[in-house]
């Protein structure tokens, strides 16, 4: 089974380079799917702060990526999640999956994002007056994650 490669970092990442690196792992790879999450502008240009649980974050992301490798015939998985202060338009998260089958690559990337939303210990706080507002978890994310449990 291929290995998952997971990073939790404050720095930005190079989407194109990550996609190229994963695709170059094997000449049997025909499909590379990527998901890039961006900070949406909710209220003006205010930045947000992404808090996480160092140690557990890496464990949780690795567990999710490994579950994807067990469920689908993948040749590689790459997950990068940023933390700290992020402005609207900035990249937050990258998931890349590589496979010989395009449907496996698509499904695995969607699965990782759905699980990551509800199982990776990150909390978003939107900057604002009164010290900002913690973003509420969304029920739609729970529902999205539930569709993968059989």
């Amino acid at each position: 089974m291929a290995q998952a490669h997971v990073s939790v970092q404050a720095e930005d990442f190079d989407t194109g380079a990550e996609i190229e690196r994963l695709g170059a792992r094997s000449r049997q790879i025909g499909a590379v799917v990527s998901f890039t999450g961006l900070v949406r502008e909710i209220l003006g240009e205010a930045a947000m702060e992404l808090e996480h649980y160092p140690g557990m974050t890496e464990r949780a992301l690795h567990a999710i990526a490994t579950e994807a490798l067990e469920r689908w015939p993948l040749d590689g998985v790459r997950v990068i999640h940023r933390h700290g202060r992020l402005a609207p338009g900035e990249r937050i998260v990258l998931v890349v999956t590589a496979s010989r089958h395009r449907q496996a690559a698509f499904e695995a990337a969607a699965f990782i994002m759905d699980y990551l939303k509800t199982r990776a210990p990150f909390w978003k706080k939107e900057a604002g007056p009164d010290g900002g507002t913690w973003v509420d978890a969304r029920e739609s994310d729970d529902q999205a994650a539930a569709r993968w449990s059989t």
Binding site: K117, F122, A137
Partner: protein
Amino acid sequence: MRVLYFAWLRERIGAASEEIDPGDAATPAELIETLKAREERYAHAFADMTAVRVAIDQDMAALDTPLAGAREIAFFPPMTGG
């Protein structure tokens, strides 16, 4: 036992982590009751238990998971990453 708090639980309690003697508490729920009885800020932070999640030694757990042997317990609201 090392206890960690994140997001608005951290803010309401006023600490990111502390060393706590769990005493007789055998589960996260019992530990929370002990803390709430001790100080008002804990009662405030843990007022709505439907919004509290727990991890034991960096794995997700339930409020009634046995604490036996745990070294690190963390309380936080539902996750909002991605």
